[in-house]
């Protein structure tokens, strides 16, 4: 992005959204970096009014302390070598040479320890987005520039041990230096003219890339949920119907390593909780034989459902989407044939279609990198591991005819020994709740999204409650599948936000949630802060069922009318004793 584009984005963004306070903390004058970061944040958060604040020049530690007082929604912390010791920059002339090197290393070590302490404190007050030094070290070591010196390695070692300390802290997110290296060549980052004239050390292209990546780091977009793959010339090289199961390959010897690495990567995605399915025009018996091979890298049990046959790909994909119960815009389809891709795209314009570059090693590796970005996630939860199994079970019920048109049959609901755990504990470390609120579309009361900070603020309010719902039955565990949050107001109970995973549909969990709110709080009525979105149709259907009309805007639900509409519920309820409702 050019600086003029960034400035135009900032000036043209309407300032009427929900305020989002972001602190940009660094030891240098942030100048154009703040413009790029501001513009990129405007792009990532179009519904927010971005308020970007910067601290005092040269006072990194003081600016870190200010986080504890100001409590912004997010704090971006950039550390450059010159912040750790001014002699590692070029604006101050404190001396280089061999006699300074030990004291430089010692100072960097002690300064990093102090920065670490303050980051620990600050991270309790807001999420931190940390960027380690991006600029090159100046030529202060005695070696040629092509030889690494011991002091330089000591400095880098200190830095990496500092970074590794925070890499497992969910409140401190590190910018990936490898990605930065890819997008901003290290030799073109420092602008000494700018640094010496204005105190801003970044070249414009470098500032643009750093701003973009930091905004992405804060944004944390919801990743894709499912991938549907073709088989011939995609999952493996060759057409199994022509050459047989032993004739297809995915290895170096047959120059088909790209298919092997693709299989390996899909297995990784599966273990991380992504849904994988197959849409292939093939004879099921041939495919089965390939999956029996000992050298297959992606076991068949990672893939469900497998749509094999001669129907159109779009039809196969329609069936897979129905079983997964997710929107096409959360799914990637990969096929080597442009004709198949065109056919699928015409039926499902929202699906992300990518051609597998068969025979193009570099293209295949780029595809893997691209998929990493599409399916990235900050952490892996217990629910991610449960997802595929619960979908399989659900599909099995369908195949066994145990579903009626509205969901599971009454007989099955009665006998499935469903157990719901209703936790009213406000656990700010529970990232699953925020994941549910920000990634659930279909059963979502109003589509409201939260930043980590705004969710924490909401939870900390004394008049609010948070209900986290976990589910299991005799067929298995679904884990934490729903979250409701709201406020009390006399005899009324407000529900401000409500999201439930699509895996939990058809079990009357939503009815039990509402009933439990009435029972738990003794409320006479519940006020649901409903907003129609393009996707919350299942939730609207549920509301229509209990209020007997199309839902619209704020809905008032009396206990009596709800109980009259509520079908029979069979769940056994577990309510942990440490419910945090003392103020509600």
């Amino acid at each position: 992005m050019k600086l003029i584009e960034a400035l135009n984005i900032i000036s043209k963004t309407p300032g009427d959204g929900t305020p989002m306070n972001v602190a940009l903390i660094c030891g240098f004058t942030p100048l154009h970096l703040s413009a790029f970061l501001h513009a990129e944040l405007n792009k990532c958060f179009p519904d927010n009014k971005i308020i970007l604040s910067t601290g005092l020049y040269g006072d990194l530690l003081g600016n870190l302390n200010a986080i504890n007082e100001n409590k912004p929604d997010a704090a971006v912390v950039l550390i450059e070598w010159a912040d750790l010791d001014a002699r590692l920059g070029t604006r101050q002339l404190g001396g280089w040479g061999p006699r300074h090197l030990k004291s430089i290393c010692d100072r960097v070590s002690s300064y990093l320890a102090e920065v670490g302490r303050r980051l620990d404190q600050a991270s309790a007050n807001c999420p931190i987005y940390l960027c380690l030094p991006t600029l090159p070290l100046p030529p202060l070591f005695h070696t040629y520039r092509w030889q690494a010196s011991n002091p330089e390695m000591q400095l880098r070692g200190e830095l990496f041990s500092f970074a590794s300390r925070f890499s497992n802290n969910s409140r401190i997110n590190l910018l990936n230096i490898q990605r930065l290296d890819h997008l901003s060549p290290p030799s073109e980052r420092l602008d000494v003219k700018s640094e010496w004239e204005s105190g801003f050390p970044f070249s414009i292209p470098h500032a643009s890339v750093v701003g973009e990546l930091l905004a992405k780091l804060i944004h944390n977009p919801p990743g894709m949920k499912g991938l549907i793959t073709d088989l011939d010339n995609t999952l493996w090289n060759g057409i199994v119907g022509d050459v047989g199961a032993q004739g297809v390959h995915w290895d170096l010897d047959h120059h088909s390593q790209s298919h092997g690495i693709y299989q390996q990567f899909l297995r990784t995605l599966s273990e991380e909780g992504a849904l994988l399915g197959i849409a292939s025009k093939n004879d099921p018996a041939n495919v089965e034989e390939v999956f029996q091979r000992a050298d297959i890298l992606l076991p068949k049990n990672c893939l469900f459902p497998c749509e094999l046959g001669w129907q159109s790909k779009s039809r196969s994909i329609g069936r897979i989407l129905k079983i997964w119960n997710i929107g096409a815009d959360s799914v990637v389809f990969i096929d080597d044939s442009l004709a198949e891709i065109a056919e699928v795209r015409s039926a499902y314009p929202d699906i992300k279609c990518i051609q597998f570059p068969c025979g193009d090693h570099r293209g295949a590796y780029k595809l893997i990198e691209h998929l990493r970005d599409l399916f990235g996630r900050r952490s892996i939860s217990q629910e991610d591991a449960l997802r595929l199994n619960s979908i399989r079970e659900h599909a099995r019920f369908e195949q066994d005819g145990q579903n009626d048109e509205n969901g599971f049959s009454e007989e099955l609901l009665r006998e499935m020994k469903a157990e719901l755990t209703l936790s009213f504990v406000k656990d700010e470390r529970d990232g699953r709740l925020l994941d549910l609120l920000n990634k659930t579309n279909q059963f979502n009361l109003n589509g409201k999204r939260y930043t980590e900070s705004s969710w924490q603020d909401y939870m900390h309010r004394p008049d609010t409650y948070v209900l986290a719902v976990s589910y299991k039955d005799r067929f298995g565990l679904l884990g934490k599948i729903a979250v409701l949050a709201g406020r009390t107001d006399g005899n009324s109970l407000w529900v401000d936000t409500w999201a439930m995973s699509c895996r939990a549909f058809a079990r009357r969990i939503e009815h039990q949630c509402v009933k439990s709110l009435f029972d738990f709080f003794g409320a006479a009525q519940i006020l649901l802060n409903y907003t129609k979105t393009t996707k919350n149709i299942p939730l609207a259907r549920f509301l229509k069922e209990i209020i007997h009309k199309e839902p619209e805007g704020l809905l008032t639900l009396s206990r009596e009318s709800f109980l009259n509409s509520c079908p029979k519920l069979y769940h056994q309820l577990v309510i942990p004793r440490n419910a945090d409702l003392t103020h509600v």
Binding site: L3, S11, K193
Partner: protein
């Protein structure tokens, strides 16, 4: 391609969005309250980016109004070294 004047107006508009075109062409450090040191550096960087030039540090102080910057961009020395302006 737009004239240097039009391109410079675009640069000013990005840095001082509150000014209209007429005000921009009369703008100077004395007349625009928001033209502080940070705005000055930003304006200079945007202008360097737009005209693909590098302003010498010793020339910075003289660039204190729209007309002076335009004169500077049109100066023979700069025009000779930068075909993008013509």
């Amino acid at each position: 391609m737009s004239s240097p004047r039009e391109r410079l107006i675009k640069c000013f508009k990005a840095v001082f969005p509150e000014l209209n075109e007429q005000e921009i062409q009369m703008a100077s450090t004395a007349s625009v309250a928001n033209w502080d040191s940070v705005a000055g550096i930003t304006l200079l960087t945007v202008t360097e980016e737009e005209f693909k030039i590098t302003v010498k540090p010793e020339d910075l102080e003289q660039l204190s109004s729209f007309e002076l910057i335009l004169d500077y961009l049109n100066s023979e020395k700069l025009v000779a070294s930068n075909a993008a302006i013509s």
